[in-house]
Amino acid sequence: MIEFVHPALLFILGAVPIPFLKGSIRKTYLVLIPALAIAAVLAMEPGSYGAGRFIGQEILFAKVDKLSIVFATVFTIMALIGMVYALHLSQAGQHVAAFVYVGSALGVVFAGDYLTLYLFWEGMAFASAYLVFAQGGERAIRAAFRYLMVHLTGGVALLGGIVLHGLAAGSLLFGPIGGGALAGTMDTGGYLILAGFLLNAAVPPLNAWLTDAYPEATVTGAVFMSAFTTKTAVYVLARAFPGTELLVWLGAVMALYGVIYAVLENDCRRLLAYHIVSQVGYMVAGIGIGTEMAVNGATSHAFAHILYKALLFMGAGAVIEVTGRRKLTELGGLYKTMPLTVALYMVGAFAISAFPFFSGFVTKSMVIAAAGQDHRALVVLALTMASSGTFLHTGLKLPYYMFFGTDRKLEAREPPRNMLVAMGIAAVFCIVIGVFPEPLYALLPYPVAFEPYTGVHVTESLGLLMFTALGFVLFLKALDPENTISIDTDWFYRKGARAFLWLAEKPLARYEKAVSNVSDTLALPLLHGTARAGLRVDLNGVDAAVNGFARAILVGGGALRRLQTGVVTHYALAMIAGVIAAIAVFAVVWQ
């Protein structure tokens, strides 16, 4: 019996055969690998695997403990659900990218050292960017480039932090930095690492990449994206920065930030994306509080969040898939033709809103209760207010304008069966976790002494949620979606890039012209003279050799030109292939 099979390798090496499989064999294979990965995670024992040395540093390919097992469990379950949802796709590229993306996320979750972590971190950025590129069209490709640029910048900050931290600490092993009792003593490297992590967790003002790119991704790609990038960031924060005071306040602000933007949003998946920001806020705050109960709360909330958020994205994706529309101002009246989608979506909506007997109820409340125990009244109030806003948007506004509301007489039907099955699996998890929280609580990193089902908790939650509904009913007109987009912090690089281009075109171009004028009148005659002398030498001796060389380059260039298709997705695919190759080499050499 093999003690430990790295699920990341299962996905990443498992991605290689996908393009060569066809039809039902491919479909079986796409479901089989995540199923095997779930089995591998369930079978694994805590411990350290794949230790070695690289450029004089300790490398630990996989460190398994309770925290990593919780995240790996939900990641592999989510991979299975996501693959079922995407089964009808014929393009292999998206499946390959999804596999590499999931594999990289699992690689981060098990990484025992910063170099391994960094490698998989970047793998995630490239693979997930492909899921946006694959949507095609100018908007998606532009959004994907912005997404990639932001993540690469974050990656550079992370790498810089890793190098500085490694030099200062003398070890690259991945563990707690500076937080807790040592708060305030963190070095520059620690802050850079924190910045890299916060970027992936979409903490404002570093949140705009998420709400910019996710709604532009493919229907199935967005489901994967909603699950992995931010939650791996939550995991690494929980690992490295528990008890960091800054995170409490960032988390509380973030929870409200997402909710406020969600009021303004008209694009259905962008609204849901703002709720990722809001929900991750609970997790970030929980990690910042840092008590056992708070970290448990953050971890369990990440677990529940991945499943209900995926369900919500799958529901909105189903609507986009059958109607081709994404704006709330253009949707409405679909409940007659898509009742199953409505029902499944609402299960996710009740779960995210933390209704009793749905998953959010047993996880979100743990974070809020931990804040209460830690005597943080303001945080409790902020997070409770965000809960009200969550129900207002994902539970009331979005379904009302998408499925009910004005009947736009859209031609619609239920989505393909595999999509409904995937949504069904996620919905079952949302309810089962809510009704029987004990198995999830048993998985958590610390022992759980929290009872969600008390009389007060149930009536208070219902009061909060149903009176939010009353507000919605009374002020429905004020919530009517408007045909606008909202300015977020991406304004700085979307408009800022334009200012830079203007600078490049106007003043810099003028400067360059002035310089070239000088060279025309002064430098050129001198150069001409020298060149003529050189030509004489050249013609006689060097030419023959160069001609032969040039011909070789010409032929080679012709061959290369055929590789250069100019199709962005091909380049992205090549990048992913490169990442796979690098990881394969990595796995073989350092085992």
Partner: protein, 84 residues
């Protein structure tokens, strides 16, 4: 069954019974909130029955109007071709 449940929330014909059900549920929740035992009240509001209903309603209004204010007066909401 699911279709009938969804239709109940969508069809215009059920509007009256829907509204009645909604207000009954609201009243029941407030009544229940007065009846449940409150053992360890950490904060002032933990001791107030009906607090969460008021807070939920208030939060909802606050979020709607603050956001819309920021969107319209604060200039966050722009035309869709703003970046083009």
């Amino acid at each position: 069954m699911i279709k009938r449940l969804v239709d109940f929330f969508g069809d215009e014909g059920y509007a009256r019974s829907r509204r009645r059900l909604f207000y009954i549920v609201l009243a029941l929740i407030v009544v229940a909130d007065f009846l449940v035992p409150r053992e360890h009240a950490e904060y002032l509001w933990d001791r107030l029955p009906g607090w969460s209903a008021v807070y939920g309603f208030g939060s909802c209004l606050l979020l709607i109007f603050v956001s819309k204010f920021l969107g319209h007066q604060g200039g966050l909401m722009r035309r869709e071709d703003y970046y083009d």
